[in-house]
C-alpha cells in the first residue's frame, strides 16, 4: 500500500522500525502516524465501538474525530492518526472506552 513513485511528490526514505499490534509484529516508519503504519500493513480495524462492538477505522486522519482511538503502550484513547510511531510501541485494538491503569505514573 506504500506509494513507491509519484508524478508530483517524493517521499523521503524513512527509518524502518518494528512495533506490535495485538501481539503481531508490524513494520512501519519512525515518526509517521501509527494509523498510517497500520494501514500500510493492511490493518484497518483500530477499535471496537462502545455499544455494538462494531469495527472502527480512522475517518479524518487529522486528529479531529476520535474514530481511531487505540491503546498505545497501555494508555487508552490515543489518537493514532496523529500520534507518531516509535520503535517497539505496543499497540492494541481498543474495546469500548478503554481502561485507565492507575498507579503507573
Amino acid at each position: 500500500m506504500r506509494i513507491k513513485e509519484h508524478p508530483i511528490l517524493t517521499f523521503p526514505p524513512g527509518h524502518k522500525v518494528t512495533f506490535t499490534c495485538d501481539g503481531r509484529e508490524v513494520e512501519g516508519y519512525e515518526g509517521e502516524p501509527i494509523a498510517a503504519a497500520l494501514h500500510a500493513a493492511g490493518i484497518k480495524v483500530l477499535r471496537r465501538s462502545t455499544r455494538h462492538n462494531r469495527p472502527r477505522g480512522f475517518f479524518c486522519a487529522n486528529g479531529k474525530c476520535a474514530s481511531c482511538l487505540m491503546v498505545v503502550d497501555g494508555v487508552p484513547n490515543v489518537m493514532t492518526c496523529v500520534t507518531p510511531l516509535r520503535a517497539g510501541m505496543v499497540v492494541e485494538t481498543q474495546r469500548g472506552k478503554g481502561v485507565v491503569r492507575h498507579g503507573t505514573d
Binding site: I3, L9, L46, R54, P55, C60, A61
Partner: protein
C-alpha cells in the same frame, strides 16, 4: 504566563497569511498550530492553484506552504507546532496544550483561523473502516505516502471530490466512479474534465446507499435519485470497492468562537455556524478576528486573502492605522471582491451578505455574476474559432475552459498576447487564433490542464495533439499508446512523437501524439500501460 501582541490560531493558508501580514506592519505574532508541521491543508494539495499571480496561481499547494512559512519566519513570526488551543478566555487569554506542556498565552489580538471539519453522510455501514473523509485520504496518500485502498468510490463531485479523485489516480489507485446527488457537477468543469478523460465516470443524481462488509468495506451500493432526492427503486447496483471516500462538504470549526462569546449565526451558504464579522474580519468581540474556512467555507485562495485582511486589521488595531496599512487593506478587499465576483463566488457572496457585510463595504460589485452564469460557454462555442481554415495554417491552441472561474495564468503565459480576459479573472479566456502560433507554453501553465495544441499540418493525413500529462510512467518518444477522448473512451493507437518536461514545467509533462487527422479534435488523453 507568556505574552504576544497577536495570537493566530491555526497555521493553514489563512493563519499563515494573517501572521505574515501582521508582522509586515511590525506586530509581534505567534501562530499556534495543532499539526506536526505548518501549512494546514496546503501540505497535501498537489494541484496548481487558480486565481491570479498574487494568489499564487499556477503554484501547487504543497509549494505554497513552505513559501508562507518562510515569509512568516522572515518577519519574526514564531510558530508553535503540535499545539492545540483549548480555550479562548476573557481579555484574549489562551489556554494551549503542547505535548505535555500547558501554556497560558496573553494576546493583544486573536485571529481564529481554525479551518473546517469534513461532513459525514448517513447510510448503513458508514462507520466501517474503509469509509474515509476525502481530506483523510489526501493526508494518508499525499503526506504519508500510503494508498487508502485499491479501488475507491468517491461520493461528491464538488471541487474536493474531483480533485481528490485525480490525486487518487496519480497515486495509482483506481476510482470506480464519482457519485453526485446534485444534477450537476459542483466543482470546476476543468477539474472534472481531468478525471473524465482518464476514464472515471461521474454519475449525477446518484448517491451511495450502503457500504458493504463485516469488518471493513468490501463494496458499495449506489443508486439513482429522483428529483425529490429519493432513491429510484431498481437502480441499485453494487460496486466492488475497498474504500468509500466522502467529499460531501465542510463545516467551519467554530468552537473557540462560540466559547469566547462571539455572536454566531447559522448561514447555510457558509457551511454552518459562523461568527458575525465585519469587512476587516473582526468578530463582535473587539480584537478577536476570524479568517478562512472558520469564517465560512470557501477555498484556500480566498482564505489567504481573508487572512491578510485580518492580519493587517489586527496589527493596526494595536499599532494605530497607517496610510500604508489602510492602502493594503483596501487593495486586499478589492482583490477578494474580484475573486468572488464570478458565478462560483455567488454562494459565498450571499452568505457574507447575510452577515451584513454588503452594507459595510464594496466587497460585492454590481457586476458580480449569479451562480446560473457558471456555464460560460459550451464546448462547441469554445471551439468555434478553430476552423478548418485555421487548422490548415498550422498549430493552434485549443482552450477547453468553459466556465467563469477565477483564474488567469494562461493570459500571462502567452508570449504572443493571444490570450486575453478583458473583463477580469472571472471571464472566459479569449484566444486570438490569428496571433496564436501554437507554441504550447500555455499547456503546462493552465492550472486546469485544459489547454491543448493541435497541429493538423504535421504530415499528410496525420495531426499532432499536444496534451498535459501528470501520471506515471511517463510515455517515451516512439511509444505507442491508446488515444482517449474527453470521456476516457478509447479511440485507437497513437504514436508518441515528443515528451517535454523541464524543471520550469513543474512536474507537468507535455506529450505530443501523432494521430489520424480526423481525430485531432477528439483526442484529449492517453492510456499508457505499465508493461
Amino acid at each position: 504566563m507568556e505574552r504576544t501582541e497577536i495570537a493566530v490560531i491555526g497555521g493553514g493558508p489563512a493563519g499563515l497569511s494573517a501572521a505574515v501580514a501582521a508582522a509586515s506592519l511590525g506586530a509581534q505574532v505567534i501562530v499556534i498550530d495543532d499539526g506536526a508541521r505548518p501549512g494546514g491543508q496546503l501540505i497535501k494539495q498537489t494541484h496548481r492553484f487558480f486565481g491570479a499571480r498574487s494568489h499564487y496561481s499556477g503554484t501547487r499547494g504543497i509549494d505554497i506552504a513552505p513559501l508562507l512559512v518562510q515569509q512568516a519566519q522572515a518577519g519574526g513570526v514564531k510558530i508553535w507546532s503540535n499545539a492545540t488551543v483549548i480555550g479562548l478566555y476573557e481579555a484574549n487569554l489562551l489556554g494551549i496544550w503542547q505535548g505535555e506542556t500547558f501554556h497560558e498565552l496573553q494576546a493583544g489580538c486573536v485571529i481564529v483561523a481554525t479551518g473546517a471539519a469534513e461532513n459525514m453522510l448517513s447510510f448503513p455501514g458508514n462507520d466501517l473502516p474503509g469509509v474515509y473523509g476525502a481530506g483523510a485520504v489526501q493526508t494518508l496518500m499525499n503526506v504519508h505516502g500510503v494508498r487508502p485502498g485499491r479501488r475507491v468510490l468517491m461520493v461528491g463531485a464538488g471541487n474536493i471530490g474531483v480533485i481528490v479523485s485525480y490525486q487518487l489516480l496519480q497515486a495509482g489507485v483506481e476510482v470506480a466512479a464519482i457519485v453526485e446527488a446534485l444534477p450537476y457537477v459542483g466543482g470546476y468543469q476543468v477539474h472534472a474534465a481531468k478525471v473524465q478523460r482518464a476514464g472515471v465516470p461521474i454519475l449525477l443524481r446518484h448517491t451511495v446507499v450502503e457500504a458493504l462488509g463485516d469488518e471493513e468495506v468490501t463494496g458499495a451500493v449506489i443508486a439513482q435519485l429522483d428529483d425529490a432526492w429519493c432513491v429510484v427503486d431498481g437502480t441499485q447496483r453494487t460496486l466492488e470497492v475497498d474504500t468509500i471516500c466522502l467529499a460531501v462538504g465542510l463545516t467551519p470549526l467554530s468552537e473557540l468562537l462560540w466559547q469566547a462569546g462571539c455572536q454566531m449565526r447559522y448561514v447555510p451558504a457558509l457551511g454552518g455556524h459562523v461568527a458575525v464579522h465585519d469587512e476587516r474580519m473582526e468578530t463582535t468581540l473587539p480584537g478577536v478576528y476570524v479568517a478562512g474556512d472558520a469564517s465560512g467555507i470557501e477555498e484556500a485562495s480566498t482564505a489567504m486573502l481573508e487572512g491578510r485582511l485580518a492580519g493587517l486589521a489586527a496589527a493596526m488595531r494595536l499599532h494605530g492605522e497607517t496610510a500604508e496599512g489602510l492602502r493594503r487593506l483596501r487593495e486586499t478587499q478589492e482583490e477578494l471582491a474580484a475573486f468572488r465576483g464570478g458565478p462560483y463566488g455567488a454562494k459565498v457572496r450571499e452568505g457574507k451578505e447575510e452577515l451584513g457585510l454588503s452594507r459595510q463595504c464594496a466587497l460585492f460589485p454590481a457586476s458580480a455574476m449569479p451562480l446560473e452564469a457558471r456555464a460560460g460557454t459550451t464546448l462547441e462555442a469554445a471551439l468555434a474559432s478553430i476552423t478548418p481554415e485555421r487548422l490548415a495554417r498550422g498549430p493552434v491552441a485549443v482552450i477547453e475552459c468553459l466556465e467563469r472561474i477565477p483564474c488567469n495564468p494562461c493570459v500571462e503565459a502567452c508570449r504572443q498576447g493571444a490570450i486575453t480576459m478583458p473583463g477580469g479573472i472571472n471571464e472566459l479566456p479569449q484566444l486570438d487564433v490569428e496571433r496564436c502560433t501554437g507554441c504550447g507554453v500555455c499547456i503546462h501553465q493552465c492550472p486546469g490542464l485544459a489547454i491543448f495544441v493541435v497541429d493538423a499540418t504535421y504530415a499528410p493525413g496525420e495531426a499532432l495533439v499536444s496534451l498535459p500529462y501528470e501520471f506515471l510512467p511517463r510515455p517515451q518518444q516512439g511509444d505507442t499508446v491508446v488515444a482517449l477522448d474527453r470521456q476516457g473512451g478509447k479511440i485507437g493507437p497513437a504514436r508518441v512523437v515528443r515528451v517535454r518536461q523541464t524543471p520550469q514545467m513543474d512536474r507537468t509533462a507535455v506529450v505530443t501524439l501523432a494521430v489520424p487527422v480526423e481525430w485531432a479534435m477528439l483526442v484529449r488523453g492517453l492510456e499508457h500501460s505499465r508493461c
